[in-house]
């Protein structure tokens, strides 16, 4: 029996949609991670002979930015629900941190190039660039989604749809943060 009503239906629709969407994203990134694990397990030597992995500063900077942006988003979401004035500042802070993350990714790619790792230099370079490009593509989508919240956040009332929207875009953003941490651990730490 399907006896959902009004707000409850919207909430259920929203959580089903987000669950499926995040499962879809997980399958995409899961495929990449599976590929990495296969290469890594079969490699005679890792990193491959003659390849130097760059220092941790650039990727760690990216990690710091994306973690901070997630935290800032969390603060924006909770102040939005209470309609606190701070929500506007947190909105801009989140956007700024996302831009910083994007810039730090460009910095990371140039650091990679400096130590001779290019997209066409073997499987390690392929993975470092390929995986981070795909992640970056999602970051652009995330940035656009969060930017589209401008009206909702700056509005003087809190609607049920608005709360759902902020919650859902937040889920996507936090998910992208988790994916970045996995990539950071895989590609630069281990």
């Amino acid at each position: 029996m399907n006896e959902l009503t009004g707000k409850k239906t919207l909430e259920v629709q929203s959580s089903i949609t987000m669950t499926i969407l995040l499962v879809s994203f997980s399958m995409l990134f899961g495929t990449l991670i599976l590929g990495y694990l296969i290469f890594r397990a079969r490699a005679v030597q890792w990193p491959p002979m003659g390849v130097t992995i760059p220092g941790l500063f650039a990727p760690s900077l990216s990690t710091a930015f994306i973690l901070l942006s997630s935290f800032s988003y969390f603060l924006m979401e909770s102040s939005f629900k209470k309609l606190l004035e701070k929500r506007k500042a947190y909105f801009f802070l989140t956007e700024l941190l996302i831009i910083c993350f994007a810039l730090s990714q460009f910095n990371l790619w140039s650091e990679l190039a400096k130590v001779g790792i290019n997209s066409d230099s073997g499987i390690l370079g392929s993975m470092m660039y390929g995986f981070t490009w795909i992640h970056a593509g999602h970051i652009v989508i995330g940035f656009l989604l969060i930017s589209s919240l401008y009206k909702t956040i700056f509005s003087n009332e809190v609607s049920f749809r608005g709360i759902l929207k902020v919650k859902n875009f937040g889920l996507i953003w936090h998910f992208l943060g988790i994916i970045w941490i996995l990539l950071y651990l895989m590609l630069f730490i281990f």
Binding site: N2, T17, I20, V44, M49, S119, D120, G122, S126
Partner: protein
Amino acid sequence: MAFYEQHIHAKPKTFLSKYVFSFDHKVIGKQFLWYGIFFLGVGGIMALMIRWALAFPGVAFPVFGSFLFPETGGVIPPDTYASLFTLHGTIMIFYAITPILIGCFGNFCIPLMIGARDMAFPSANMLSFWLAFVSGAVLLASLFTPLGGAAGGWTSYPTLSTLIGSPGVGQTLWTLAIFILGVSSTMGAINYITTVITLRAPGMGYFDMPLTVWGLWLTAILNAIFLPVLGAGCLLLIFDRVFGTHFFLAGAAATSGTGDPILFQHVFWIFGHPEVYILILPAWGIVSDLLSFFSRKPAFGAKATALSMTAITILSTLVYGHHMFTTSMSPLLTQTFMTLTMTISIPSTVFFFNWLGTIWRGSIRFHSPMLFSLGVVFVFGLGGLTGLHLGTVTTDLYLHDTYFVVGHFHYTMAASVLLGGFAGIYFWMPKMFGVMMNETLAKVHFWITMVGLNGVFFGMLILGYGGMHRRLYNPFWYEFLQKLIPINTFVTWSAILMGFAQFFFLWNFIYSLIKGKKAKDNPWEVGTLEWTIPSPAPHYNFDSIPVVKCGPHELGNPALGEEKDFQYQTEELAKV
């Protein structure tokens, strides 16, 4: 009172908002139908060209040959041949069957059959179609690039699909087109799943849903989970082709780390095997309903059929390795995949027997949708049984990459799905367009198609068993295959016959749209929710959301009396 009032868009007034950028699920369903029929024609012509080259090697292709291939005097050249079989497979699977079975019937039927006014997300639904349109345009554009269209096969295995095997832009555009289509289908899938879960009419439990909706819903679940896997593979392939990465390029310098072409096969088949079920589940669902409707009996074991389809959906995710038995896989893995593959026979047999149980001693009405449904029972039986040979390691090693494989998957993915699609078009035509199609023409279409189709695909099974490999431009360079020329000629004439039969459909379809007999609200006398409203279905479907009181297959109930032998889902179940 409606349990949940969906946001209702104003009735469209302009041509653009009514027919082009429509939010209405019915219009989007019809857009997918036209899109699918167009590509069915393109893919069909390609199939005939392939068959011509195999039956009459070195002979100019009739009529268009000298125009298309002036440099070879009208003979299809080898590189074009490779492109033809690549695009034929791609177009038929992704651009013809998927839009018709999933895009058209999914969009048109799901809200109507569950008693909803539209999809959960109408805007995403519209976007899904237009992304599919962009994808189709990119694919067609790839044909006109300097080195021609993609030529790596519909599976696009590296190295055939990397710059080594396909240096032209065509293959890159192919990969991009598939990626875009994947995004479109994923959006559609999210919409279908959410709609089915949240917008079923009050009183409609999952087992009160028609089996058509079950099939489409399970398909959507598989699509949402596995299309991103193909998407990842496509992105990496694009990177290899455009940015010089090495994901799928093997090299001698193992210590410096190179890629692995076999990895793409894993990625492709993790998606690809569920894809078989993605295509066929909607057809199974439609056929399961239609067999009951036209046998004037409740679907035998309807719950078991729904659960069997669910079991197949789950098992389909675990068997992809049987496509890769010849890639030096460890014997432990091959045997594991073989066992899992064989396990699928159990739920398949359950619902196949349920089909037979449904028609057993039924008062069968041999209308065109029923004929096509019976056709599915026949061809799917053959397709399923020949699958056992390919799921078994020992026989697969001999049959792999032969025409036996081509025959098998055409019986399952082409014949079953195509016949199921035609059954659906003939059945829902009254509700879609408000007109009936001509039954005589439909029956002629069915019988000629059945003869042609079996000539083609059974012929392919024999060719494969005789050792003829797929994808060879001219197999008759090999002496042992020269004896198979007559069978190839027979297969080609059968294909021409099958192609000819489709003109009956096209004529019938277009003529009916223009001058067809006006349909009654419920011409087939069945009780699912879409038949409780006028034909064609009005804007926003239901005046008020229906309340469901019984299942979708309440036919032939003795308690109903003499007047009618079916009851609507909105009626209390008649009891003696």
